[in-house]
Structure formats: structure tokens, C-alpha cells
Symmetry: C2
Subunit: 341 residues, 2 copies
DNA sequence: ACAATTTGTGAAAACGTTTGCAATTTCCTT
DNA sequence: AAGGAAATTGCAAACGTTTTCACAAATTGT
């Protein structure tokens, strides 16, 4: 006997009945005689029988597993999204395979392939910042594997999507800074290729122009990532060009904090000299001194909604007239010390 | 035809050969005629054939999947552990299922059951702080499913373990504070039930006594979690009892930062009045002002070593004389502003 | 007491793959 | 051209389950 796994056959042999009867008994099928049922369930209990997951998957053509592809996991926003996804999945008896691409295109392609061979019933994906080509995702559609994008989505692929209203969020953040009397708001952005970066940048520009002011390229920077160090470099760059700015909007909290660090190092006070707003509402933005004004993103909701949409695809897999949908979630501005002037 | 999945049968039918030949051709078996092989591989390519994962698992009695059970994912240390695990797993063609228990015992039991039915080839686990009963883990051993514990381990279960030398780390942290001339070091700890908490606390006490000083219960607190707010509460509690202390060792960085916040609020300066040391070396400890002295834990190494041990179990599953082993990893003290006196 | 139900059970196929064995074809050798 | 070896290929079983269909046994109605 290998691997100690108790199977339905073992039970059948032991009780001198057929596997079919055991299967039915365990499924509580009314066809089987109560006495037999009792014998089977008791023996199953005693032997600690667990139905073999792989066999079930093969038989039922369903793996009760969802795949999630995302670029980072040490990330409070994604962690909240994951919680939302997991809660929905667990409530339906599903497990979740998490594929962490570490923002690598290559890894993303590998992960996509891994999930494409019938290992999961559906996939939730957030594309990495390196990704500019989407064949690997298109393949999910070709194989009609249910797919939902969240946060960083692929415009060209026709499927359900759940996104944050990044434009609106950025607009309201910059608008807030302007309403407190600031006139020259600098911008410290993330990867330019990313759709969410573009949206945030547009929101920034439009908020300024909405006040009849002009956008000033001298106080605008973009970065390949959204890390603390990038925020520091951005401020150095801007300072080399001009020191005329009194507000700053950063596309992530980490960029904002890096910027603040550098501003302090250059002798500026936040918020007295320069007021600052970040994006994401990570825990650190509440702890830091000065605490950071920022945009709160509904991560949990995003996960929950994405997962529900995915299940809706899974459950209506054969429905011809299913129409992909894009849900846009609202954010909220959290005002703290860094913009409290 | 359902679900569009191309199977080996489709290829066989199309080419008018048997499935066995197709299977062999795809496996590049030398038995099959080059011409046939060519025809098969070309058609497979054209139809974008991918071997069905579930069928393979059933056939080979191996899922090429590892399960990881851990209590949190928004946690830099665990995230590093995960990276280490993933890197080893990927290099062997394995995927990783991550089960996030959210520090809930109930969830941990469910997750363990989920992984117990042949869904994974082995399990890496870090127990939640709520867990005081271990039947669900013992069951892995009963079924001889390879199991490795990391970080928060279960003493009673005889299997491979990888841990941090928490005692040693705490000792060296407190020793460092004492060597800078501080005499009364407060302790702000995490969940008392957790083995790692106990070890850190012991290291703290022994370091004090090693200097011929006495441990003072008035300046010791324990918390149910290791969060920022717990650190704040701890300082309030201590302050209500006494204000006589000039150093502080906290069992996590977040506890340390919460403590610092509260100390500042009470008019103390860090490090001038009270020097502080945390534990874990999260990014925030480098960013915060004052930057935080802390213990760096080799998270990536822990993941890598754990995964390697697990694979060693998997590969020697039938080896009678396999002896479980416990690896203890060294940490390093990172001295920053918060203890720079 | 015999047919007609009802009730309970088993055999076999199916999910997609690999592989030992047997069967067939092809190619040499004489 | 026949015989045999070598090269290809196919059949069937197996992995653990569910489920359709058929059949046996027990019960009911007359």
C-alpha cells in the first residue's frame, strides 16, 4: 500500500460491496439502504477517508481552484484585494493559487501558462508594469477560461474588468491641494507605461487646468517604480530644475514619503512650505510624521467584486450572450497632517 | 465539444493513430518513427495542445504543487520567505498554493484539510498565534504527506523545522542597548503563547541578567498582537506604573514604532531619553524618523531552506531512515538612529 | 401464488494521461 | 522470396472518482 491514502476502493473491499455503493453512500444518495450507508460512513470516518481531490477534478472537469496573478504581494492594496478574493472563494468552497510575478513580464508569461492547463477554473489578473504584450492573456479567452482583470487591466482584451477611478482620485487629491491655497503642485509619478499611472497623471493635469492654472513640466517627474528611493530621486531632479513649488502629489505613498524625506533634507517643512498628498493609504502613511494625506483605495471591495464576476463567468460558461463588463470603483481622499495648512 | 480543451485524443483522431503513439511522440520517445513524431508535434503546436494537468496528476500521483500555510501575507518577513519558497519551487517546475490563515485557528484547520486530500505534494507551514492544538498538522504525518514548519513551529510534531534564533537575536539586541550605557530596558512583547515570543522574552531577560542587572516587571508588557496600536497601549500601561526606563526592546518593528509614537507624545526623545530597538527590519524602520535599530531576519533564506528540505522529503518519501532536522538561522543586528546615543 | 412495483446493488464507462505488453509492419539477410 | 530481427504501433490497464444502466432482491397488490 503506497502513500497511505485511503480510497473508496479500500472501503468497498473491506465491506465487501462495490465502489459504486460506497460512492453513493458517501454522497448520501437515498437509493442506498440505511444500514449500508451507516456502515460506509462509519468506516470512512474510522479510516479518515478524504475524497481524492485530483480524481474529483478529472471526473467533474472542475478544480475548485482560482488562480490569481499579481505583480507583488508585500503591498497593502493587493493584500486587501486578495482578502476580498479569498473570502468569496472560500465561501464557495474554492481555493486560491497565488502567482506572484514580482513585476516581471517573463514570470507573468510562465505563470499564465502554468494556469492554462486545466489547473484552475478561472483566473484573476493584474498585469505587471513590464507587460506590453498580451498574447498570454488572450490565450485564456481562446480557451474560454474565465478571466477577470483587476487594477492594472488590459484594454485590448474583451473580458470583465474592475478598476479604480484613478483619474478621479488624482483629480480630487490635486484639487484638494489647490483649494488649500497652493498654486504650484509638483507631480511624482510611477511607471509611465502603466494605465493607472497615465490616469493619475491626467487627473493631476486636469485638476490644475480646471483652476485656470498652467501645468509646469519643470516640476513633473516619472519613475520606473513607485518606491521610496524613487521619490527621493524625483525631488532631487526637480530641485535641480527649480525650487518653485508649494505642493506635491505623488502616485504612491512610498513615492510621497521618499519625497518628504528629501524635502526635509533640503530644509523644507511639510506641510508649511510644501504640502504633500500620496496615493493608496498604506498603514505607514498614518504612522509617519507628519501623517500623510492620501487616497484610500477600496482594495477589499475590488477583490470581492472581481471574484464575484469571475464566478459569474464560471457559472455561465456556456451562455452565448454574456457581455463583459467594466466596473469602476470610487476612492476617498483622506486628509492628514501633510496637507493640513 | 466542451471547453475547447485540446486533448491527446483529438490529435490521435485527426492523424488516425492511437493515443499511445501520440503520447509517446510528445514525450519524444525514440520508439516512434520520426515522421510520425513530426506530424504529431506539428499538429500539437498548431492546435496549441497543453497536457491536462489534472489527468497528469492522477496518473503520476504527483501534483507538482506545494502548499504554504501562513498567518499573514502583508508582512515583509513572510513575503521574503515566500520569495525563497517560490524560487526553489519554480526551479523544480512546481507551483505554490498559498493559504492565508489571517491568524485564525479555524481558518488554519480548514486550510490544512484543504491541502490534505492529495492536492499538493507537500506542505510548508507557519502556525498562527491562535493555534494551541495540532491535530490538523499531525494528520499530515499520519498520511505521510511531507511537511516542514518554518518560523512558528510546533514542537510536538516530529518533522523538519526551520527557525530563527529568536533567543540569540533578542539577547544581542538588548545587549546592544545595555552596552550603550542604558540600565533599564523596557520590554514590549507579542503574543505570549507563541514560541517565538517566549524565546525573545527569554533572550531579553538573560541579556539583562548577564550584566548583573535585575529584570523589572514594571517595565514589561505583552500583547495579543504585534501591531502599532499595541505598542502605543504598552507604553501607556508602562507609564502608568513607572517612568523609570531609558531603553526599550520591542518584539516587532510595529510595536517599536507604536511605542515611539507614544513616547514622543509623552514628551520623551528617542534616542536621547530612551533608546529603542525593534525586531524584523521592515522597510518602514529604515524610513521612519528616527530610523529604527532592529534585528534583520533572513526571510529569503528561511524560505529557500524550508523548500529544499521539503523537496528532500518528497524525493525520499519511501526512505525508512529519514531523520527530521531542525535548522536554526542566525540574524543580524542593524544599528540605526533610535539607539544611536 | 404470480405479476408488478419498489428498493438496493453492481458492472462498466468516462475524465486525460502513461506504459507494459502484444501485435503489426518494415527492413535486412541469405 | 522466405525467414527473422528490428522498428513501429496499438490495446488495455491504471490512477480515484461519479453516474448511467441493468439487474437482483424484496415488497406489494391482486
Amino acid at each position: 500500500m503506497k502513500s497511505g491514502q485511503v480510497t473508496i476502493k479500500d472501503i468497498a473491499r473491506e465491506l465487501n460491496i462495490s465502489v459504486s455503493t460506497v460512492s453513493r453512500a458517501l454522497a448520501n444518495n437515498p437509493l442506498v439502504k440505511p444500514a449500508t450507508k451507516k456502515a460506509v460512513t462509519e468506516l470512512a470516518e474510522k479510516l479518515n477517508y478524504q475524497p481524492n481531490f485530483t480524481a474529483l477534478s478529472l471526473r467533474n472537469n472542475t478544480t475548485k481552484t482560482l488562480g490569481v496573478i499579481l505583480p507583488q504581494v508585500v503591498h497593502e492594496f493587493f493584500a486587501n484585494v486578495l482578502r476580498g478574493i479569498e473570502d468569496v472563494a472560500y465561501s464557495k468552497g474554492y481555493s486560491v493559487i497565488i502567482c506572484n510575478t514580482h513585476e516581471s513580464f517573463e514570470r507573468e508569461v510562465i505563470d499564465a501558462k502554468t494556469l492554462m492547463n486545466g489547473r484552475v477554473d478561472g483566473v484573476l489578473a493584474c498585469v505587471s508594469k513590464e507587460t506590453h504584450e498580451f498574447k498570454h492573456f488572450q490565450e485564456f479567452k481562446n480557451r474560454s477560461i474565465p478571466l477577470v482583470f483587476f487594477d492594472c487591466v488590459v484594454d485590448d482584451i474583451d473580458t470583465d474588468k474592475v478598476i479604480i477611478d484613478d483619474y478621479d482620485a488624482a483629480f480630487s487629491a490635486v484639487d484638494h491641494l489647490l483649494k488649500t491655497g497652493r498654486k504650484n503642485i509638483a507631480y511624482v509619478g510611477g511607471p509611465e507605461g502603466l494605465l493607472i499611472s497615465k490616469k493619475r497623471f491626467e487627473g493631476y493635469k486636469d485638476a490644475i487646468e480646471a483652476q485656470g492654472l498652467k501645468v509646469n513640466d519643470l516640476i513633473i517627474t516619472h519613475n520606473n517604480a513607485g518606491k521610496f528611493e524613487d521619490g527621493q530621486h524625483s525631488i532631487k531632479d526637480i530641485m535641480n530644475r527649480t525650487q518653485i513649488f508649494d505642493g506635491l502629489f505623488a502616485a504612491t505613498d512610498m513615492l510621497a514619503l521618499g519625497a518628504i524625506k528629501e524635502l526635509k533634507a533640503s530644509g523644507f517643512n511639510v506641510p508649511q512650505d510644501i504640502s504633500v498628498c500620496g496615493f493608496s493609504n498604506w498603514k505607514i502613511s498614518e504612522i509617519y510624521e507628519p501623517s500623510l494625506t492620501t487616497i484610500d483605495q477600496p482594495g477589499y471591495d475590488m477583490g470581492e467584486i472581481s471574484a464575484k464576476m469571475l464566478f459569474s463567468q464560471i457559472e455561465h460558461k456556456n451562455n452565448e450572450n454574456y457581455q463583459p463588463e467594466t466596473r469602476v470603483l470610487k476612492t476617498s481622499l483622506i486628509i492628514r497632517e501633510s496637507s493640513n495648512v
